[in-house]
């Protein structure tokens, strides 16, 4: 069984990532690869649905940190949704909940991008 798989799909111009398993120093390249693939395609609105994520270690948080500047610099954002207790706890411990927007559901995270566009138009 694979330790991490990351499915992706695009909805309303938002790229959704579904990491399943755990992200650590070994599996992070899979996660990082999917983020980089989105950026290479000029897709800068990203939602990571953490529903299937057992945990994310510092290597995974580093991957997000490494990409966020480019994402935000291109008018996009990386937002998180559907965090379980463990993953939410990790984000809170590190104060990442102040750096990233976190939503209870994937739909809310997708809608948040649309609302921002409507407010800007």
């Amino acid at each position: 069984m694979s330790e991490l798989t990351v499915e992706t799909r695009d909805v309303e111009g938002v790229t959704l990532l579904y990491p399943k398993g755990f992200i650590n120093a070994h599996t992070v390249r899979v996660f990082e690869g999917e983020i980089q693939k989105a950026l290479a395609q000029g897709r800068f609105k990203i939602v990571v649905n953490c529903g299937g994520l057992a945990y994310i270690a510092s290597a995974g948080l580093g991957a997000i940190m490494g990409a966020i500047e480019e994402i935000r610099g291109n008018g996009g954002d990386l937002r998180l949704a559907n965090l379980n207790e463990t993953v939410r706890n990790i984000f809170e411990i590190l104060g990442f909940n102040h750096l990233y927007r976190i939503y209870a559901s994937e739909v809310e995270a997708i809608t948040s991008f649309r609302r921002a566009e409507e407010a800007g138009s």
Binding site: H26, A57, S58, I68, E69, I90, I93
Partner: protein, 145 residues
């Protein structure tokens, strides 16, 4: 007759591909010690981070070394020791986590050690018989078995 408290000792190669095994073993032992699924997962994360530190810092990424894990249910506490024979790493040299610099400088150094400290009740480093020992301890809730 009461079953003995489980303890486990294992040596793994210093390769990140073994982190999945480290996670599985730690989680299983933590659950056997009476921790909830969520806490067991966090304990597994702390041991994952400690093992990653050894691979990256004590062994500088070299994959042909050995890491010893000693996991023990000691009754009132759950203890994991991560032992290596690499370079001495001074924990005081680990950069302090600076939230503001995460964004401005993409600085992520020290996150793993910070996480370990927040998850465990104590994280200590010592040098013993020319080896580095990182000792992680989590106390049990008195109400837990």
């Amino acid at each position: 007759m009461r079953a003995p408290k489980p303890s486990l000792m294992i040596s793994i190669p210093s390769q990140t591909s073994f982190l999945g095994l480290v996670r599985e073993i730690t989680k299983k032992m933590a659950e056997s010690a009476g921790f909830t699924d969520g806490t067991a997962e966090r304990l597994a994360l702390a041991v994952d981070e400690a093992t990653t530190n050894v691979i990256e810092h004590a062994y500088h990424g070299s994959g042909d070394r050995e890491i010893e894990l000693r996991i023990e249910d000691r009754g009132p506490e759950f203890r994991v020791e991560v032992v290596d024979s690499g370079a001495t790493v001074d924990p005081r040299a680990v950069p302090r986590v600076d939230l503001d610099r995460y964004v401005t400088e993409r600085r992520t150094g020290g996150l793993g050690v910070h996480l370990m400290g927040k998850i465990m009740d104590s994280v200590t480093f010592r040098r013993s018989a020319r080896r580095n020992v990182c000792c992680l301890v989590k106390r049990k809730d008195p109400a837990a078995p």
